[in-house]
Amino acid sequence: MSDVMTLSYGAAIREALDDALARHPDMLVIGEGVPDPKTIFSTTQGLRETYGAGRVQDMPLAENGMTGICIGAALAGMRPVLVHQRIDFALLAMDQMVNNAAKWCYMFNGQQKVPLVVRVIIGRGWGQGPQHSQSLQAMFAQVPGLKVVMPTTAGDAYHFMLNAIADDNPVLFVEHRWLHHITGEVDKRQPAAGVTGAARLRQGNAITIAAFSHITIEALKAATVLAEHGIEADVVDMRCLTPLDVETVANSVAQTGHLLVADCAPEMASIGHLLISRLYQRQPTLLKQAPRLVAYPNHPVPTSHFLANDYYPGAEHLAAAILEILDRRPLITSVCRSLQSTLARDQPDRYFVGPF
């Protein structure tokens, strides 16, 4: 098999798990539904057949207990990858993740380590509603000791997953459900831009868009249409919540003088706010205009698509915000019209017919 391939994001995760299972004999993959016929949206497909039921396991519906069990296994030298089909389920495991996984190395003075990966899927659409589509990654990022990564591209998904598994620290690997079907190039020989910090996906000198996870895709769409009007955006895919790569954003803003932060999480106490705050405290003179944050509203996600359609900001919202920052308001109507999706906003692509 070639080292360079075009894979969907979900297939890239599967490929990384496959390669890591081959590389690390102590690695386990465990989670509710991991070996079932749907195999976590096909991201664990075939792994049990290749590596056996001892290493690729289903588990009891006991998120907190199983997180503690995976921590114990990790202390004893295993490398568990624990999978939650929804980040909402990981809330049941907050005690073990926050009180144990995050602190174990610290509170025992560096004498013990927890090489644990927790995969959590955030996302939206098709009526997932208030308890199946939350975006809670900032809550985890607030806990010292947990590393929180959320790659956007298939290539990054592959390398970030390999990196997370090889890491001797607990890593929360955040996957947006709508990224799973998006294809990209995976070069196994080396990641395009390292495996930590942010990456510039597009060069431009008019404004910096710093985006997190799936909304980076929306940012790229907005940038493409804005370019038709001579507005070249610099798109930075943040990729990690911890460490938060302010430097890459600052370097970009030093050239553009303008900043839009796009976060796929509720606005309240979001990492997007933190990014703006840190950037401003670092170099208050970089920005020519006040920066903007586009994020989710501060209320739960309703199930009805008639309501949820207007919950999520898309490319047109980002473009409108950019045109306001740059004082190019007359362009808003035409740009937004060309960016409006012909799909309902609870549907990632026209092939998607539910139920998950």
Binding site: G65, I69, C105, Q112, D168
Partner: protein, 322 residues
Amino acid sequence: MSLPTTAELTGLYHRMLRIRRIEEAIATRYAEQQMRCPTHLCIGEEAIAVGICAHLTVADKVFSNHRGHGHYLAKGGSLVGLLAELYGFAEGCCGGRGGSMHLSDLNAGFVASTPIVGGTVPVAAGYAWAEQIKGSGNVVVVFFGDGCFEEGVVHETLNFAALKKLPLVMVCENNQYSVMTPLNERQPARDIYPIAAAHGLNATSGDGNRVEQVHALAQAAIAAVRAGAGPQFLELHTHRWPEHCGPNEDDDLGYRPPGELATWKLRCPLRHTEHMLRLCGVTDGDLQVMEQQIGVEIDQAFAIALSGRRPDVISMTHHIHV
């Protein structure tokens, strides 16, 4: 049930007495305000830690909770490491990051104690799972209290331990109180161990203040685990003498019925064992020698611990990650 020999019983008594005297010494010095961390003493409960750990090798692993000094010492944890930890010195077993409620001595196979109720129970099971996968033959023991049995995560662990037939011994120290709340305000009038049995574990109960009984139950349980019989559960009845947290007695607060503590003190695990030893021919002189040895060790350990150094402030930021 096989009873310990006189030599074994003498050893058990020595280890219980050592824990008792260490806890008393900590209580005495606690008033100096130099051990500045919440400290939960195990006076009155020494027989369980000692009776269980007597059957463990260094390679076997122990997990514990907020009241963990006895478990740590019975498993062979460094006394100087414990005391220095209480004082917050760099030489502490966790470099001063843990204090009384977070202990570890990997050289002794004491992996960890932590104070979230139920926090170490699944971690111990996960450790046992890894030992099983690796085929090490090692046994993992986790100590927890009656209050812990009310936590959901304990039942999640019981389920998984039985499912995987883990090499795990779960020791429930039932001292009837969660802080100051009695068991009958928290659980219905029934034993704890049959619920573990209903989860699929081999479960039994016994008198946690009779070290020969704990020793015998532990011998059977640990032998069963080593023979591949899967997880074992012991509910052992005991009583804490001091206040929940701190160096003093608190019977004046009135949360224990009048006479309850006094009755339990009559059932002191040390006094009971001493009586048995005397019947076996152990003399006053033998016991005095034991006291002297322990006293010297404790004095020396405090002296070494107190000569520890303050951790560098910069080290506060170390070890957030490996």
